[in-house]
């Protein structure tokens, strides 16, 4: 039976996170004043983002993606390639390439499971040669972002349930699948496969991985 390797993105394959993507967008607003205002506002909000993420990833998503409200879809997509070349690509961990290469040699399907927005993840998935991906999608009305995500919102348990459905649809044996993440919020995504690995884990995930005897990998 076929199997897959599921990767989280931010902090796992590269050192950027959602805030980096938004900060890039904020810096590249039309007009200097707007850029400065947006950037400062993002910086000021970072403690709130951290607190929300620590409490619940879904709460973080609610707060964070509201900041996209009013952004033009065209502009976001236009900036995505630049964001990838200037911010994300240099931040890919050197070990990520080898990990994916070895994984592909095993015949595993390479799948990105991320809470990042589609237009930031697509260039990276293409660059790494991943076979499939699931991301979050901003809701747009009349070409403007509403600040909400389209369901299902990829975070925590939703990632695991998406993986289950995906495996069933694609005829994959989850007990032979691999999963990689850096964050405690992705515990369900790790727990659902037979070969979970904590990658560059935060303190809580590292302790959990030790308790579960999961491999702990440092790609940095």
């Amino acid at each position: 039976m076929a199997a897959a390797a599921f990767y989280d993105l931010d902090g796992t394959l590269c050192r950027t996170n959602l805030v980096h993507a938004f900060a890039h967008n904020a810096r590249n607003q039309q007009g200097l004043i707007r850029s400065v205002t947006r950037t400062l506002s993002t910086v000021v909000s970072i403690p709130a983002f951290v607190a929300a993420d620590f409490f619940d990833r879904r709460l973080f998503n609610d707060i964070f993606f509201r900041r996209y409200k009013g952004e033009s879809e065209d502009r976001l997509r236009y900036l995505a390639e630049e964001l990838f070349e200037n911010v994300i690509k240099p931040a890919i961990y050197p070990g990520a390439y080898k990990l994916i290469e070895k994984s592909r040699q095993l015949g595993l399907r390479q799948v990105l499971v991320t809470g990042a927005i589609d237009f930031t993840a697509i260039p990276l998935a293409r660059h790494l040669g991943l076979d499939d991906m699931v991301t979050n999608h901003l809701e747009f009305v009349d070409g403007k972002a509403t600040g909400r995500l389209l369901p299902p919102v990829m975070a925590a348990a939703t990632k695991a349930s998406w993986m289950r459905i995906y495996a069933e649809k694609e005829g994959l044996n989850l007990s032979e699948c691999y999963s990689y993440s850096d964050s405690m919020s992705d515990l369900p995504m790790l727990a659902v496969v037979g070969h979970p690995t904590a990658v560059n884990p935060d303190f809580r995930l590292k302790n959990t991985a030790l308790q579960h005897d999961w491999p702990i990998l440092d790609l940095r």
Partner: protein, 541 residues
């Protein structure tokens, strides 16, 4: 600690002995000190038990530097090293990793002494394209601190990290396929070594299975090359691994070594050390207990008291901090085969003790140290490889244990693993062993999966983890012992599930283990205690 263990060690009196190394227990014999992991127990053994001690250390060479210089200037079947050097040459010096010697020796490590001489010679001959490669094969990478300790600060600062590094057996870009033996065994070797004008291998041969062609052909190869001989059938074809002419492992490695010799110019420097594992304050641990002085007894009591008050990790730290006091007793250089033959002869002089006949019951103390647990934990798989692999194989002629006899291992068998060094061992122990202990089934069903696991590969390459296939090799290593012993009993195991999973019986104490063994082998059994450490091997008549 039982009451028996607190009993005072008695003073010297004449004993029934065969030479200095073989002693028979009688009614007046002192209890014996027996390593059990990080503890040392004091045990009364049944009358008539044969205790085999290591030989007294051969006196170390007074001037190791002079011996090394002599060896490289008067090599066997090769030109002197200076005559092989020319300005602009590309030279790679490969070194044995931290698994040798055991425990790590006091500084300066003999490798540092050799390197200082070599680098001076290379510099004098205008050779400056020099790399130092640790021949770790699929062993864990040595840490920065370990690498510094091994070669000294001066060399470390000059070469690390760009020109002093661990061999990567999982980087296809840095491996070269040299060919296959007539039997189809592949030989893939470190690219830098293959592309060098000269490879100098600096070796420490601790036991007779080390050294020789194993240094380059195994130390610098990859999984595909090593799996052809680190497998159950090859290991079952060894009688024993310590006797190269009767070892299928050596035969296969020599075949691969012949390919290496066809493609690479190797100048082999091989050393033998004596077995002065303990010295000064801990010298009593290598002595016959009947010959203990009052001071030795006091030192043991003090050590026993201190160990009883410490948690296991602290005991591990203390033992890790005590280096061995090994001294150089021989150094030869030149072509691999003649050099290795001379070193083997020296090792046999140091380790081989002649004993008459096999025993029904054999006791192996399993100490805190193994080649794979330096600065780490001797996990249950490693306990297995020490007992059923190495110690069982420490013979020439016949095993010390009769076929179908009872083997007693002394170890607490903690269910404890090092997540950083031994991640694949954890999965092997918890996922595979409950399903099967059959080496062939494990090999065919699971070895490939572990060896190709991307997480384990990257943990090996980017961290300090043993390769994913390593726990399999360790399990196969124990296969000859597993098939030879009729029963394995682990004395002093602190839990029931580890021995059960390994397929062993357990006993609270050595006395209980001996009783269980007696009931298995029948009345009036012959019993032998192999008193490790230090290293002792048996020439069984």
């Amino acid at each position: 600690m039982s009451k028996r263990e607190t009993k005072a060690l008695r003073g010297p009196s004449p004993r029934h002995k065969e030479g200095d190394e073989v002693v028979y227990i009688d009614s007046e014999s002192a209890p014996r000190l027996i390593f059990s992991g990080e503890d040392i127990t004091c045990e009364d053994l049944p009358i008539g038990t044969r205790v085999v001690y290591g030989k007294a250390p051969i006196e170390g060479l007074n001037n190791p530097g002079a011996a090394i210089r002599y060896a490289i200037n008067h090599p066997l079947d090769a030109d002197p090293l200076y005559a092989q050097l020319a300005p602009g040459m590309r030279v790679t010096i490969a070194l044995d990793d931290i698994s040798l010697p055991l425990p790590p020796m006091r500084t300066p490590d003999i490798r540092q002494t050799i390197l200082e001489i070599l680098l001076e010679l290379l510099d004098a001959n205008g050779v400056d394209d020099i790399h130092l490669v640790i021949a770790n094969c699929l062993h864990r990478y040595m840490t920065e601190d370990e690498m510094k300790r091994m070669v000294g600060k001066k060399i470390f600062d000059a070469f690390y990290p760009d020109r002093y590094y661990n061999h990567d057996g999982e980087d296809p870009d840095n491996l070269v396929h040299l060919g296959k033996t007539a039997q189809g065994e592949p030989m893939n070797i470190n690219r830098r070594c293959v592309e060098s004008d000269l490879v100098i291998y600096v070796n420490i041969t601790l036991v007779p299975m080390d050294g020789g062609h194993k240094s380059v052909a195994v130390g610098l190869c990859d999984y595909e090359s090593v799996r052809v001989h680190h497998e159950p059938e090859t290991l079952l074809g060894c009688d024993s691994m310590m006797d190269p002419p009767r070892s299928m492992l050596s035969t296969k490695i020599e075949r691969q070594g012949a390919i290496v010799d066809q493609h690479m110019k190797v100048f082999h420097i091989e050393t033998a050390l004596n077995n002065r594992m303990f010295a000064n304050a801990t010298a009593f641990l290598g002595k016959n207990e009947d010959e203990f002085s009052e001071f030795d007894r006091m030192k043991y009591e003090a050590m026993r008291f201190a160990l009883s008050k410490l948690p296991t990790p602290a005991k591990r730290k203390i033992f890790s901090a005590i280096p061995s006091e090994y001294e150089l007793v021989a150094c030869y250089a030149g072509k691999t085969d003649p050099v290795h033959a001379r070193i083997l002869a020296k090792l046999y002089d140091q380790y081989m003790v002649s004993i008459k006949g096999q025993s029904d019951i054999v006791i192996f103390p399993i100490p805190y140290v193994s080649p794979y647990s330096i600065n780490s934990i001797l996990n249950p798989i490693l306990v297995q490889v020490m007992g059923l692999g190495y110690f069982h194989q420490f013979y020439r002629g016949k095993p010390v244990l009769k076929k179908g006899g009872a083997l007693i291992l002394c170890h607490p068998c903690h269910d404890e693993f090092d997540h950083k060094f031994h991640p694949s061992y954890i999965e092997f122990f918890n996922r595979l062993l409950p399903e099967t202990r059959d080496s062939h089934k494990l090999q065919h069903k699971y070895e490939e999966e572990f060896a190709r696991n991307p997480s384990y590969i990257e943990m090996y390459r980017r961290g300090n983890a043993y390769h994913g296939a390593h726990p399999f090799f360790m399990w196969y290593w124990g296969e000859p012992g597993r098939q030879h012993a009729g029963k394995v009993i682990v004395a002093g195991a602190k839990n029931a599930h580890v021995p059960a999973r390994m397929g062993w019986d357990r006993a609270d104490s050595l006395t209980e283990a001996i009783s269980m063994a007696r009931s298995f082998v029948g009345p009036s059994p012959s019993i032998t205690l192999m008193k490790w450490p230090p290293i002792v091997m048996a020439d069984v008549e």
